[in-house]
Amino acid sequence: MSFVPQLAAGAAPSGGGHETLTIVLFGVIVALTLGITVWASRQNRTAADFYAGGRSFTGFQNGMAIGGDYMSAASFLGITGIIALYGYDGFLYSIGFLVAWLVALLLVAELMRNTGKFTMADVLSFRMRQRPVRTAASISTVVVSIFYLLAQMVGAGELVSLLLGVSSAAAKNGVIALVGLLMIIYVVFGGMKGTTWVQIIKAILLMIGTAVLTIWVLAKYGFNISALMDAAATASGKGTSFLEPGLRYGVENADATKTLISKLDFISLGLALVLGTAGLPHVLIRFYTVPDSKAARKSVNWAIGIIGLFYLMVLVLGLGAAALVGGEAITAQSKGGNTAAPQLAEALGGQGTSLGAAMLALIAAVAFATILAVVAGLALASSASVAHDLYANVIRRGKATDAQEIKVGRWAAVIIGAVSIGLAIPAQNLNVAFLVALAFAIAASANLPAILLSLFWRRFNTRGATWGIYGGLGSALILLIFSPNVSGKATSLFKTVDFAWFPLSNPGLISIPLGFIFAIVGALTSTELDKAKWAELEVRSLTGIGSEKAAKH
């Protein structure tokens, strides 16, 4: 280990030292992001500034911000953890999360940019009756965002308990509440411009942190990926099966039904991952922050490059954590494996040394920045939808002023924050990548059918959109409630009761096709067809005429 730079021996390691460093670094991250938020708040003049950052970000900047939004606690902490614990099976998350971007690139990004203004519902309700469609879209936006949010908050709680060495429920809950409070501040003051800059800076920090860890891990194994895999397999105690499918998903055992269910669960997860991205409201509204559809295309391309590179590195981190930290040490700290990445950083620096403590604090601070940024983006998307769709368009029928709308948005951020805090507390034993996969399944079931059919199917109409959204959302939630996630198993939310009758932990396999069926059947059973608005939508979405222009400050 001679190549590992050792800190001067004089800097004697002590528990107190690393906690001070951690708190200082966390403080720096919070101060930096709040500073950006205050700066951005001075530049927000119109609703387009607040919700869409003035539409003046470049494709590259927005690509970085999309990367920042997407490389959440689930990607960094969750996938690293799941690969560290289950090897090959965790890799599917990376692949699904990445391939999903092609759906957004080819079918959604540019057309959304050309036709929408502030929210996902702008596009969905374009040629429909406004109130029912906006109400449905707003509800599903909030539900998806809350699932995504609670995953980030679980990550935050675990992170801090690792750092401060406390496992008391009160401390974890305190951190979760703090994250919720910060999230409200970002949204209330910073709007989209502040949030986008927070995302960009976070993306840079995260890429640097991940690259340092990746190179460090690879260097330990002579830049030989096979040697790293060997070491991970050996340390896992599971031998070569660690590098093969079946430890986590598609588990094969003597009971044929159980084997089948486990395999279907894997396919269900795979489907949810690949179809979810293009239905995530906080991702969709990112396309509004650039001047035109060409810039939207560019930003997705940059995002694919950044995110792809990131996931390739996360595989190395996961294998590195398996080899150098070991599954037992990881699960002792976090049952879902969520602390594998920071534990790897500590192990690389040397457990119990100052360097190890410094690495742990640094990577944890990066992860904390990640969580704050993603939480801000999610809160913005969901509160914007409540304010713009539900309040301004449904309740006030378009008669609300910008100031009233933004005020409602702030209250919505407070309430959504409070709900996710409440839900995050009982969800603390779950892997955060798994939790986010549930948000993906809901997004793919409720939002994707309505978005695609709205943009491409002439015959689509109000009933199709509302049935699709409520049908997809309802079936995903019902299947989830009656799944083993919620009851009947030792790992369930309610361990002592068993009302589970749906065997899959991810509902996507059933609820995504159901979402499409509801949308199609709903459309076909209604005779409504606004030919003129369909013409306008199609012409505008493909040519970009009449699209919202960038603000000129």
């Binding site: 692949i95 990445l98 005429i545």
Partner: protein, 122 residues
């Protein structure tokens, strides 16, 4: 009733029915639809092989690297490749068609707004 950009409902339908717009629509869908089917099939194939062809997935190719990891990395490669191919295609085949229609419509709209007493030219 004029829209924000002074294009009337009748105009939208006229544009939608025009041969230029049909060409644009074909150019967009002609790439996006088949490629989407292709990459989703390729991705689902990977998922299904992982679930049901364990022996194949576990064949070692070099060192400890097995077919599964190779296929996974290939998914990354095809994703990057499709993103690049799509952008080149859109820059070459789609953007000009869209711009042509957009410029023509904007010119019409300008003509309408600059004739204050003429009413909307239909």
């Amino acid at each position: 009733m004029p829209h924000s950009n002074n294009t009337t409902e009748k105009d939208w339908q006229e544009v939608q029915d025009s041969p230029e717009f049909a060409r644009l629509r074909k150019a967009v869908r002609g790439f996006a639809f088949p490629v989407t089917i292709a990459f989703l099939t390729w991705y689902l194939l990977y998922v299904l092989l992982t679930a049901y062809a364990r022996d194949f997935i576990s064949i070692r190719v070099f060192g400890s690297v097995n077919v599964g990891f190779i296929l996974g990395w290939l998914q990354f490669l095809t994703t990057f490749g499709i993103a690049i191919a799509y952008s080149r295609y859109a820059n070459r085949k789609v953007d000009d068609l869209a711009a042509e229609i957009r410029i023509e419509l904007e010119a019409q709209a300008d003509a309408t707004t600059s004739a204050p007493e003429g009413g909307p030219a239909k």
